[in-house]
Each structure stands twice: as structure tokens, then as C-alpha cells.
């Protein structure tokens, strides 16, 4: 296990060898409590916020004080899980802001929604979401997502996992562009649902 942890540190310097730090975003009090428990059982460190605005504040992306250098390590987030339907900033808008950021675009974002709307799912995936989960979210969903992130494998099939494999040789470049998803990759994501 120790050997694996060492290899892990080499591959993905930003992921702690011990546990993922997940930022969960949901306006529902009940859902925040549940997702927090699901993530803790999946051995993650969890920060829960109730809006997209607060999520951006936490990340330091709110355009206010730029505290990117201070406390960055303690706030280092490895995964963002956000509800789609939220008042003010929707999960989709939050996703876009994160993917537009040169610092945070590499953080995988998972979108959760109670509504199984294909156009919604498509837009999220096209905007760079790692996965779209249907609510109520199950422990098996959370474990699958966190396992993938911990192993450093992308969930986006061919092109994305290639990108991740390159990170074995070098630190992932922040300027590397996400390849557009091929229709077959999108279809395979849909079939998962």
C-alpha cells in the first residue's frame, strides 16, 4: 500500500496520498447532509457549501481578494460535486466558471440533478463535466466517482484517459486543451445512465 502511495504522489502531485478533498455544492440542506455522509464514508475530506457563489469564494475565484497563494494547500480541492438546479448561480454556470479558470479547470466537476433531461446532461458533459449523476445519489455512485479520481483515470473514455496517462511522465500542463468529446464517447456516457 505504501508503494502504491509513493507512485501516486509521483503521478498526481496535487492529490494527497491519503484522501481526496471534495467540495460539494447544494442549496438543499437535506442533500448537503446526505452527500457529506456519502463522501465521508468514501474516505474523503469534505467541504460543503450552499451555493455556487460560496463555492467560488472558497476556491478564491470570486473576483474579490485573490488569496490564491495564501492557504492554497489547505483548500486544495480534488473534486467538485455540484447540484444543477440552484437559485442564483446554477450548477451549470458554476461548471462553466471553473472550466474557464486556468487554475481550476483541471479539477473534475460532477453534476447532480433530480431531472433526467438529455439536453441538460449533454450540455454539462460538453462543458467539461466529468460525470452527471441522477439524484438521489447513491453510495455506489460516489464510490465509483471517487475511485476513478483517486486512481487518476479519467472517466471520459479514450482521449481523456490518454491525457491522464501523459501525466505519468510530466506534471499536467495547465495549457493542455481538453479534446472535444467524440460522439461515441458521449453515447457511452449516456448509456451509463
Amino acid at each position: 500500500m505504501a508503494a502504491a502511495a509513493d507512485v501516486f504522489i509521483q503521478r498526481l502531485p496535487e492529490v494527497s496520498a491519503r484522501e481526496l478533498h471534495v467540495l460539494a455544492v447544494d442549496d438543499s440542506h437535506v442533500d448537503r447532509k446526505v452527500i457529506e455522509r456519502l463522501l465521508k464514508i468514501s474516505s474523503c475530506k469534505v467541504t460543503v457549501v450552499d451555493s455556487g457563489t460560496r463555492a467560488l469564494q472558497y476556491l478564491g475565484l470570486d473576483g474579490g481578494e485573490k488569496n490564491s497563494s495564501i492557504d492554497f494547500d489547505s483548500m486544495k480541492v480534488n473534486l467538485i460535486m455540484t447540484d444543477y438546479s440552484m437559485p442564483g448561480m446554477t450548477g451549470f454556470e458554476l461548471l462553466k466558471k471553473i472550466k474557464e479558470s486556468s487554475i481550476f479547470r483541471e479539477i473534475p466537476v460532477v453534476v447532480m440533478s433530480s431531472e433526467n433531461i438529455l439536453t441538460r446532461i449533454d450540455s454539462c458533459l460538453e462543458e467539461g463535466a466529468e460525470e452527471f449523476l441522477l439524484k438521489p445519489v447513491k453510495l455506489s455512485d460516489v464510490k465509483r466517482v471517487t475511485d476513478f479520481i483517486m486512481r487518476g483515470e479519467g472517466m471520459k473514455g479514450g482521449k481523456r484517459s490518454q491525457k491522464r496517462r501523459r501525466s505519468v511522465d510530466c506534471i499536467p500542463s495547465l495549457t493542455t486543451e481538453l479534446s472535444p468529446l467524440s460522439p461515441s464517447t458521449l453515447a457511452s456516457k449516456k448509456s451509463k445512465l
Binding site: H29, V30, D31, V34, R37, I41, K138
Partner: protein, 154 residues
């Protein structure tokens, strides 16, 4: 011995709630998240649901009193309420919400109003049953059987 009896009654109530469709698979999922360090997780979530959704119920009641009726607002509140119901596995209450959504879309005030009274009824009904389940006591069990004589006949 009394404790065993009460636990057995609680288990019976739980199966009954699941069998009769008051609760669904999601409730069982929540139960699986309990452990020795978090033995009351489900009760905490359900308590949170009832405290939190009281606000939504109030908002919907108020919105139904407003003239003209803001169906968008009603639909929005109901969407939030339905989401919470789904999160705790409150199957019957959640299903009643679907009807409300349809009436909202049709801008049918009477339909919305009537359906909402049914939703509130189911909501309170479930609350009483769950209280009995989480805190079984002879008073509660007696009250539970009074509320649902049908169950006595199973």
C-alpha cells in the same frame, strides 16, 4: 424484554412503511449509511427534512393565497420540496407532488390547491409513522395503530 418488544414493533412499522409504498429504496440507502459512530443518521436526516420543508410548505401555502397566482413560483417551491422528499425516500408524498406539477403547468389553481391539501396530509401522516418508528414507545405504538387500523388487520 419491553425493549425487545418495542424494537420488534419498530421493525414491523419499517417493513410496513416500505411494503405499502410510503417509503422506497432511498430510505434503505440512508439506513446503510448508519454505523456505530453515526447510529442516528437516518433520524437526523428525516428530522432535518421536516424542519426544512416546513418552510417550503409555508411558502406554498402563502403562494396559493396570493392573487394572482404565481404558478412559476409554485412550481419552483414544489420542485425543491419534491427533491427533498426524494432524498429521504418519501415515496408516497413525492408521487403526490407529480400531480401538483401537472396542475401547475396547466395553470389550474383548483387542481393545485386540492392536490396540495393531499400532499400535506400524506406529509403529516408519514411524519407520525416515522416518529413512531424512531422513538417507539407504548404511547406511540398505540397512537400508530389508532391512525392506521388497516395495519392491525395484517
Amino acid at each position: 424484554m419491553d425493549k425487545v418488544r418495542l424494537q420488534r414493533e419498530a421493525a414491523f412499522i419499517r417493513s410496513s412503511l416500505l411494503d405499502q409504498g410510503y417509503l422506497d429504496e432511498q430510505f434503505i440507502q440512508l439506513e446503510e449509511l448508519q454505523d456505530n459512530d453515526n447510529p442516528n443518521f437516518v433520524e437526523e436526516v428525516v428530522t432535518l427534512f421536516y424542519t426544512d420543508s416546513a418552510r417550503l410548505i409555508y411558502n406554498i401555502d402563502q403562494a396559493l393565497l396570493s392573487n394572482p397566482t404565481d404558478f412559476t413560483k409554485l412550481d419552483d417551491y414544489m420542485h425543491q420540496f419534491k427533491g427533498s422528499c426524494s432524498s429521504i425516500g418519501a415515496k408516497k408524498v413525492k408521487n403526490e407532488c407529480n400531480g401538483f406539477g401537472e396542475y401547475c403547468e396547466a395553470q389550474n389553481y383548483d387542481g393545485c390547491f386540492r392536490t396540495f391539501q393531499q400532499i400535506k396530509q400524506e406529509y403529516i401522516n408519514l411524519k407520525k409513522k416515522l416518529e413512531t418508528y424512531f422513538q417507539p414507545s407504548y404511547d406511540h405504538i398505540y397512537a400508530y395503530y389508532l391512525i392506521s387500523p388497516y395495519d392491525l388487520m395484517r
